[in-house]
Symmetry: C2
Subunit: 115 residues, 2 copies
DNA sequence: ATAAAACTACGACGATCCTCGTACAATGGA
DNA sequence: TCCATTGTACGAGGATCGTCGTAGTTTTAT
């Protein structure tokens, strides 16, 4: 097989990331859950390792929204698509934002008794 | 005039505020601008003191979204409706979130040259 | 070559969202 | 009382969003 261009995923550069876009990306329950799981892991994870209450196409959609808004980066490895949070970029652009969102989500989950 | 019940505004209690709702409320450019202006002032401000690029009805809408998601509190004084950020509640629920959003917005405005 | 695994592209549906204009309500001052 | 100020309620239009199923692509293993 020749290399497939569609397998190279487009990411916004650091300068293109907007705080409104990041907040919007994180404001959906499914996507917030994805980011929490990604941030809790030590390395990148495949989309298939997420147990989400939505269909597979919807899962694809949510990962794309996160990527297009600069929250995660993704790349292919075999048939799998791996994701990780763009911690370095987000911390540089919006210091403390990611941590406080994740911390706030943790507190809320604790408070609602379903951490 | 007798007291009008419609003039008493409904606010979510602290326990009802959700991080997803707060993020959603802050993810709109107009609303983020409102909150930045509110946070930059020392006391509460009337809606009419905001110079926004939308109509008056749309302004009302955005203030309501902010209030219903627990970001601001509002009360009437005469014909004016005053607003202020629910700093104490937000800091208790999601420590550091408000500050990092505001700080990130400031940095972004600086970076884009229209602070 | 065949099949399985992982993910995507596309179109569709209903819900929500942002916006507006118009008409209305509440307050305070002349 | 009359009017100006301030904000609301309502309905509407158009855009975006979240969801899905189906069909298809890419890769790896057999």
């Amino acid at each position: 097989m020749t290399t497939n261009a569609a397998r190279v995923l487009a990411h916004p550069s650091r300068e293109e990331i907007r705080v409104e876009g990041v907040l919007h990306a994180l404001s959906d329950p499914v996507r917030l859950r994805i980011v929490r799981q990604l941030a809790g892991a030590t390395d990148e994870q495949a989309c298939s390792r997420f147990d989400l209450p939505v269909s597979k196409s919807t899962t694809t959609h949510h990962f794309r929204v996160l990527r297009e808004n600069g929250v995660i980066s993704q790349f292919y490895r075999g048939t799998a698509k791996l994701s990780c949070v763009r911690t370095e970029d987000l911390d540089a652009l919006f210091p403390g934002l990611l941590d406080s969102v994740l911390g706030g989500a943790d507190l809320q989950a604790e408070r609602l008794g379903q951490g």
